[in-house]
Symmetry: C2
């Protein structure tokens, strides 16, 4: 990677910075070849880690998941885990961003001499850091629908635990939500169980137990964090199948994502969840989640002065 000679943040990167072909550049200039099969076959995996208050949150866990997912797709990374962490840290440092959304991407890349055999392709690594992304603005709540027009791509077709860009079903769900007067969608699987939405896992508080879907979803790191925090608070948790009926009857609902943390869902299919206000368990977990960002178990502080 090109190392800037000047230390400290670089104002050219304040709106975001990307690493393309080993070079740092402003996010607005960051481009990938149109012939990269990461685009033309969506043959790619990625991961996103958050930076909050100048520290990465669970950086090691995100990088480890990314490496595992690359291996599952037979994608070769040019860097080991420590080098990826170093590269991401350097990007955040030069951007000066204290709250950032940091993306690492590995694509199958481009064909050698016109071959269509993916084993022969030249895999590519990209990364970028941009100002923090909110799926839901702070102090807002989600109004969601369980979609009727689309089902989540099944695990037998595309492995959802390998974080991917196959969002056709999720985007269709978003359009259905808008058509039905809501802003967010949660997709069912082909057995009628709840899965996830466009970039978030979901949780339901049912009979005092905190449930989250066992199948058909990414194993989110925010989801994992919430399961850990709930356990620490003595709330029983279960990773299990959740039918539409059980989900619709929950006392509290919320979604989780690196891009927004713990996001209350106070309306589902046009009906208020509970009394329609953010529930006490959701509220407590949201507070614990942001508090956990100061916990040295999870936080990796960025040295912006390099």
């Amino acid at each position: 990677m090109t190392t800037p000679t000047q230390r400290g943040p670089d104002p050219r990167f304040a709106a975001g910075v990307a690493l393309i072909d080993g070079e740092l550049m402003p996010i607005a200039e960051a481009r990938i070849p149109i012939t990269d099969t990461g685009f033309s076959r969506s043959d790619v995996t990625y991961d996103v880690v958050g930076v909050w208050g100048g520290a990465f949150f669970r950086l090691g866990d995100h990088v480890a998941r990314f490496q595992q997912n690359c291996a599952k797709l037979h994608l070769e990374l040019p860097f080991d885990g420590e080098e990826i962490a170093r590269v991401l840290t350097e990007m955040v440092r030069v951007s000066g961003l204290r709250e950032a959304y940091v993306d690492m991407i590995c694509t199958r890349g481009t064909s050698r001499e016109g071959s269509r055999d993916p084993r022969t392709f030249h895999n590519r690594f990209y990364a970028y850091a941009i100002p923090y992304v909110w799926i839901l603005r702070p102090h807002d709540a989600m109004d969601a629908v369980l979609t009727r027009t689309v089902r989540r791509i099944p695990e037998t077709s595309v492995d959802p635990t390998v974080k991917n860009f196959h969002w056709g079903d999720l985007v269709k769900g978003q359009y259905e939500a808008y058509d039905r007067g809501a802003r967010y969608a949660v997709l069912l699987d082909h057995d009628g169980n709840v899965t996830e939405g466009a970039g978030y896992n979901v949780f339901a508080l049912v009979g005092g137990r905190l449930l989250t879907p066992a199948r058909g979803t990414l194993r989110g790191i925010t989801q994992r964090t919430v399961l850990e925090l709930a356990a620490e608070e003595g709330i029983p948790t279960e990773v299990t199948d959740i039918s539409a009926e059980v989900f619709l009857g929950a006392a509290e609902l919320f979604a989780t994502s690196t891009a927004g943390g713990v996001m209350p869902m106070t309306s589902i299919d046009g009906v208020p969840v509970g009394d329609g206000r953010v529930g006490p368990v959701t509220s407590m977990l949201r507070e614990r989640y942001w508090k956990a960002h100061e916990d040295p178990r999870y936080a990796t502080v960025v040295d912006y002065d390099g």
Copy 2:
């Protein structure tokens, strides 16, 4: 679009030419923003038309399908059908390519001011023309497997008639084929019926009838051409469900694609199809397919001297 001042082919574009943000450039320089959701959500549709012997094959049909698919995804094109045809023709003309693979792409594009609402995005049109792509080299035959490790993404999740880049299942099928000593894969759906492979439809000659799958696949224009040509030759055709058993017992098998035309499949799951040689119906249709490229019903001749 930038119009070159000089007429006739431009040697800079001999290896391929792309149209990005309204500008023509050599394919090797053609890049798209890393933030385009055509990449980061695979929120995109595309179409590919072939040029053979200096003429487009069924240009109007490909452009019309592309326009319909953009409409289905709520994507807005900056051009009408005639303008798209004109732009693609201009690209082929300046490339000088007599045999070309011509791609038109529309992506959801990039977010305005950080919004995640796809309705507010700025849709983008890209196109390129490169030397003709062969899924199968001429005079070669496909050795294929019916995949066991993966099923085609169902229509209830992603509409396969809207040509898309959700190839995770197809690429996994390719890897399975390699593991099983073959080079090509055909995917079953969740009901156990045959669908398609990575960029091709399939046909089976069974009891003197030519069958092709009714569901879970792109409605290919090469597929449509073969159905028309077979009908003209008095071969009964049927668009229907085809079980794995029926497919494996076929007298002849072949695949169809703009990138290769009619491609004989002489081995399936390690067993020869029929006597293991290219069958007479396949052979006749392959010949008729290439002959049809001279038919004024289908051909749009490119004027390379402008």
